[in-house]
Symmetry: C2
Subunit: 552 residues, 2 copies
């Protein structure tokens, strides 16, 4: 046998929380330090479970409960030499003493555990909105929750039972879909004016319609004000039948340990950390949903409760503790949700938030097909790109459709993280055969539009600017065919089909012209014709389809 | 009406070839210059057809012939004011006179046409390998070809007919699949030792097996030497029955016009162009398959016959002629092909080519699943990443699998074009829900491996280096379970399951250890354990699965 290297200091590293960030940290820490003592304390009875799969287990999509349990304390012990203690609740951190207090629920004992390094990965818990009857609300955060919900739902008679989900964020929507899959009636109650606040209204309205088309009783702009024995009382005066009520209005960092220990937390309750994931107290770190992350777009610390960054940050913290230079990428907030047979994905910031912040932005809507239109199975999708008008950098993206949404969002996430400009999307050489994409991929097309706007070859207005244009005397010209126009049009639009436009310029007088078509492409050609013939012209971005989506 | 701007000079712009690059140029040129005279001469009877869909029309996947015809001369005339002349064959370019000679096949007249700017977009033609009987070979490049093939194939009796495809590149493979779909017997003859030369052997062998499993009689390392009346004679002495013979051994630039006009062409026959797509003769440009492109990895001019770059370059040439600064991104060569229900995609260079060029590279093989393993429908895929060992930049990528291949290749293409390092793939925040990906996406995982290699946390060897390691006295340790080991193992490997490794280090003596598992992940953990215990250790990259694939 080789001579062993000098035995390194056997550090004692404690981890509070054994799911995504905590376990990603612990396994990487072991691979970085074979000799450290690494102990994970997990309050629940399970570690390293598939928290993003819980709703799909309830819906019967994932059929085996064991599939949710990715690792066990025993497997982590034998594979990684980790000391995993489930049903152990950490009740206090003592930074000055470098110790924590741990209560063992199995034998009801309490111990004091010293640490060299302490990692807080307690995650976030479901917010239970305070109201009468809130004790009836169930939640979906861990295996114990899923078992409780499964028992309650299993006791219901699908032909008569009613369920209510409070909150139409990612988890609320996934719950609604899976309750429908289980044959149950679902009312989905959303306080805000729309579901999924990482989307703008014209992008998310089709998803709301899709939820309703699949039988979800969606109540938006509505608050629950009380939970009674068999109903939930809503702010609009109605009451909906409710055998089971699920709270999915959001999560908050489980920061009590940190707060009680005097660690700095931010406005949203996330533990403040530096670029090395270290809290305000030396040798105490925080990763995952309990910790603040720097937003890639805002540059400001905030909360991002997503599995990807949690896993990544746990890993990088281990590298930092192992002695590497600190490395903590900002959080872009790339997220995706399946909504029956539709997919919605987003990253970065919304137009709504950026306009509220006074940012100088350009907005692009496109409605391409998922792959070459002549190949069977091509599906329409809608993409929105929000671009910094000063730098041409990508600030946000949203996409909705049946197919190809995840791929385009991943490409946009990569481009955004890499600092590509929106115009540079035109240059990308993506994998093309007709069943996979288009020779001019939807991503390239976004780049074309961005470059035209950047270079002043095309001007555009947004759907919410039509009224102001009309009020200022602009003429709205629908350049679609007469048949398309007759099937439905924007009020006050006149119809001059694109192929006739060159011959009918004299009908337009000297007014500014807003051209539009179905999706924006013919409108752009119209603007090129008009502006080269001396007109002040702009294209309605995203065309009739975006306008229709915004109108709901 | 607004006062028209001063009438610009009405330029006369001629385009030779009206498919991808030519028509992309022409329509963009019109949008950039409303007043130019733009004439497109197309030798065949059709422009702007779906050349990537031709094989799928023959296979019955695309059912309507009209779906292949994306535009007509009439539609391009009314929409873009383009003068599209099909069945017009340009027979000569006269650079000094700024004219071309055009033969009109419709009325059998010849005219001389002057130009201010001339664009050559004649594409590439199928190589007909010279041999006795080669006049029987059919090809698949345009609508006329597809009509001829459809007629010949339609006359066959599927129960007895035999077809032979020469060449197993992208088009040959697509043809083979679609002939099978049509119920015909197919022999696919490939001169080289493997199909698809943009892949390395261990990545493409599973595709070869897949072709055979679907009934393709694949003959690799075999040349056709003669085509007889009912057979094709092969270099191995055999003869295969052949009612129809299709040549798909490759394409060559249709450069005769350029060569005859004295324009510079490169070694492969592509027209040499500068960064503004201009040939050696001023005001003559070349785009698409007939023109050389600068390789993104090599930095050298070469041939890249792909639809994406052709369309893109046509567009950017129009921008250049319109007065924009030249902009011509290099060609990465991203390509993809469906092979029955598998997908194979690649970009950049192969390990084979880079090693032959003496490049200092790192190679990474992974075998992840397309989305979270606990969610139904997860499919295994194989990814290969080739990294510049000096700069950590991506030099090549290959992926094969049933699902999620196109997405990962598009992300890698974006990262490569953006100049991200391989290690930076670990930082990417991709869209994750369990039906779409993994919290640690296969792309992130490539980054993890790359970073470990870059930082010296793990060393690896390739499948083709095992023999040299064994000869030098290294011990090959299979760290899979005993059950996995018994189902099949690499010769000379000893089995020490990973979970037992810490307790059995004393069995290894002082030899260098090559650890391996099924796909590489446990092997990495083994190397971390070994190296931290004083061993010289390396991981077999890609594990048993890559080795098995290489063994065929």
């Amino acid at each position: 046998m080789s001579a062993p290297t000098a035995t390194p200091t056997r550090r004692r590293i404690l981890v509070i929380g054994g799911v995504a960030a905590g376990m990603s940290f612990a396994t990487r820490m072991r691979r970085r330090d074979e000799h450290a003592e690494i102990i994970i304390f997990e309050r629940s009875g399970h570690v390293s479970f598939a928290n993003c799969g819980l709703a799909y287990y309830l819906g019967g999509v994932i059929t085996e409960r064991s599939d949710l349990l990715l690792q066990t304390p025993a497997s982590l012990g034998s594979r990684f030499g980790l000391d995993v203690r489930v049903n152990h609740n950490v009740t206090a951190i003592h930074p000055d003493e470098h110790t924590i207090t741990v209560h063992n629920h199995l034998d009801n004992t309490t111990t004091i555990e010293p640490y060299d390094e302490l990692v807080i990965a307690t995650g976030a818990s479901a917010i239970i909105p305070p109201m009468p009857g809130s004790e009836r609300m169930l939640q979906l955060r861990n295996i114990e929750d899923v078992d409780a919900l499964d028992a309650d739902l299993g006791a219901l008679d699908p032909s008569t039972a009613n369920t209510v989900v409070l909150g139409a964020g990612y988890i609320g929507i996934e719950m609604a879909e899976n309750l429908i899959a289980r044959g149950l009636s679902v009312t989905l109650v959303q306080l805000g004016p729309h579901i999924l606040r990482t989307f703008d209204v014209e992008m998310i309205t089709p998803i709301e319609e899709h939820l309703r088309a699949h039988g979800v009783d969606l109540r938006i702009g509505t608050a629950a004000i009380a939970v009674h024995d068999t109903t939930v009382e809503l702010s609009d005066g109605s009451a909906v039948a409710a055998d089971v009520v699920i709270a999915a209005v959001g999560v908050r960092p489980q920061n009590a340990l940190a707060v009680n220990a005097g660690l700095t937390v931010g406005a949203g309750g996330g533990i403040r950390v530096n670029a090395g994931y270290e809290t305000s107290s030396p040798h105490i770190y925080a990763v995952g949903d309990v910790a603040e992350k720097i937003g890639a777009i805002s540059g400001e610390p905030g909360l991002v409760a997503l599995a990807g960054p949690a896993n990544r940050d746990g890993r990088y913290l281990a590298d930092t503790i192992a002695g590497d230079a600190v490395h903590s990428p900002p959080a872009l907030g790339t997220a995706i949700v399946g909504v029956f047979d539709l997919t919605a994905a987003s990253l970065g910031s919304t137009e709504r938030a950026l306009r509220a912040a006074g940012r100088n932005i350009r907005v692009i809507h496109t409605h391409p097909v998922s792959h070459a239109g002549y190949f069977p199975g091509a599906e329409s999708l809608s993409i929105k790109l929000i671009v910094d008008a000063d730098t041409d950098l990508i600030l946000g993206a949203q996409a909705v459709g049946r197919d190809g949404v995840d791929k385009r969002m991943d490409v946009l996430a990569t481009a955004t993280s890499a600092g590509l400009t929106a115009s540079a999307l035109a240059d990308l050489e993506l994998a093309y055969a007709p069943q996979y994409g288009s020779a001019k991929d939807p991503i390239n097309h976004l780049g074309y539009v961005a470059r035209n706007l950047r270079d002043g070859l095309s001007a555009s207005i947004q759907w919410h600017e039509i009224d102001a244009e009309l009020a200022a005397g602009s003429v709205l010209v629908d350049v679609r065919t007469a048949a398309e126009f007759e099937r439905g049009s924007i009020p006050h639009a006149i119809n001059i089909p694109l192929d006739d436009l060159r011959g009918r310029l004299n009908e337009l007088g000297d007014r500014r012209v807003i051209a539009h078509c179905q999706v924006g492409q013919r409108g752009h050609t119209a603007v090129r014709i008009l502006s080269q013939n001396g007109f002040d012209a702009a294209n309605l971005d995203g065309g009739y389809r975006t306008w229709m989506a915004a109108m709901g």
